[in-house]
Amino acid sequence: MSACLDIHHLSAVLPNGQRVLRSVSLTVQPGEVRALVGESGAGKTMIGKAVLGVLPKSVRIVEGEMLIEGEDLGRLDAKARRTLIGARTALIPQDPLTALNPSRRIGPQMTDRLVRILGWSGERADSRIGQLLDEVQIRDPERVLRCYPHELSGGMRQRVLIAAAFAAEPRLIVADEPTTALDVTVQKQILRLIAQLQRDHGTAILFVTHDLGVVAKISQKVSVLYAGKVVEEAGTADLFAAPQHPYTRALMAATPRYTDPYASLKPVDEAVLAGLAAEIAASDRDWRPAHG
């Protein structure tokens, strides 16, 4: 059985030649949650966008391949690629405020995707959305569907977006820091909800976060990203039991514990950063783009 998402040696550069992704390899098996952790600017969002085919124009892929359920995106023409991505993947975005169109009602925003991607009838899409809203525990779906996005709270909007992401039964969902923009109390509910739906629907998730606490709760596998390079990857339990890379250890040391939230909150060690810089420099020295 082929992996749900398979990325091989993906490198991407900015117009000034700076590399934002450094030979990234990553696999997400069907039904599995793969966490992608790293500090701000590490390139987590870039990877998500690359998979979904929505990289900014200025970012160019110079090497590597991406396969969704065994189909090489690079071998498809633009239209076939769009269709494949549209049918098999979905996004749970970070900011529920800008992720919904402010001038359209929730209902049509959710259903037109189903009608469009899966060719469903309007009625079938409506009932499907109703069912999903039920699953994300929205009590008054009729009312919510008639609302404009600004009439809902942040948590409600994120529920709506989660429902929309799962509605078309994608094989893979990219969740880009889906709880960062929310209240702490709401974060937990949303996280639990995503985990619940993920299990019920058996959907694979590439879960982008910078929060190791979240990683421990939701994922089975972890990739640790630094400066666009995967510095460590492991099963979640293994990673927490025995982190191999010094950067991973430093990240863990920097994560607050509930018992003593501030004691261990310290910046990543100088020596670790120096080691990382050397590692990145070495990989750039060896790097020869295959094409482009």
Binding site: L52, G53, V54, A90, L91, S103, R104
Partner: protein, 282 residues
């Protein structure tokens, strides 16, 4: 939240005042033959320069007085409104369609389409608009359709610039990205996701442009480049009024007031509509 919204909805005096004046003026213009107390072209030297109704020497039936040829001012203003509104609607709509379409394309697609359209807009805006209008009408020949074409050809850039900027900021929104992921094409996204969000601005600009078209038409009439018939126009009446300002100030003042009220109403009406259309402000 609901209460605040209801309050905001009902409390929009500018929308009502502006809309009220426009409706009144429009109805009067449409039903001019029924509404106007006199024949706007009928000259009567016995009745020349009658003052408005509250001054000594006013004649009943000539509410705002008469001009130096004895024509009823109110009736001329009402009939003049016909041309003003025709030009306002036709010219503003044409400018809006042309400018908004190009602005949407430039702002959303970006790239070479944007560079090309933006360059044209820059060149266009280098011309002083009134001079440009006079030049165009001189080339096209006077007449209603020339005036409309001239205004549309000159003022589409106003729409293009604003809509381009708004479409650009829309294009960066996450929901546009989600639509792309879901497999929508560029045209689909432009019409479905971007257009509804720029529509409030389009409506506001459209209304503003109607006011501008009224002014431009008046200016063209004023310099005798608009409609080459005897039909009264506001600009034409102002031009005549200017000549007899010392003997009959009302012939200048009333059309000016009418013009200013109409133009102001168009812009205020547009702003009010925008506030109402915008789902976030609403």
């Amino acid at each position: 939240m609901d209460e605040a919204r209801i309050a905001r909805r009902s409390l929009s005096p500018r929308l009502w005042l502006a809309g009220g004046w426009l409706v009144l003026a429009l109805l009067a213009a449409v039903f001019a033959p029924l509404v106007a107390p006199q024949d706007p072209l009928a000259q009567d030297l016995m009745l020349e320069r009658l003052p408005p109704f509250w001054l000594d020497g006013a004649e009943p039936g000539y509410w705002l007085g008469t001009d130096s040829l004895g024509r009823d001012l109110l009736s001329r203003l009402i009939f003049g409104g016909r041309i003003a509104f025709i030009v306002a609607f036709a010219a503003a709509t044409s400018a809006c369609l042309l400018g908004s379409t190009l602005g949407l394309i430039a702002g959303y697609l970006g790239g070479w389409a944007d560079r090309m359209i933006s360059r044209i807009v820059d060149v266009w805006m280098a011309f002083p608009p009134v001079l440009f209008a006079i030049l165009l009408v001189a080339v096209l020949g006077t007449g209603l359709s020339s005036v409309i074409i001239a205004i549309a050809v000159i003022d589409w850039t106003r729409f293009c610039r604003v809509i381009r900027a708004e479409a650009m900021s829309q294009a960066r929104m996450d929901y546009v990205e989600s639509a792309r992921i879901a497999g929508y094409g560029r045209i689909g996204i432009m019409l479905r996701e971007v257009l509804p969000n720029v529509l409030p601005s389009v409506v506001a600009l459209l209304s503003l442009e109607m006011g501008i078209a009224v002014i431009v038409e008046a200016i063209l009439s004023f310099v005798n480049l608009s409609i080459a018939t005897d039909d009264p126009t506001w600009g034409g009446i102002i031009a005549e009024g200017r000549l007899s300002i010392h003997q009959a100030w009302w012939v200048l003042v009333f059309p000016l007031v009418t013009l200013i009220l109409t133009v102001l109403s168009f812009s205020q009406f547009g702003e009010g509509l925008k506030a109402r259309f915008d789902p976030v402000l609403r």
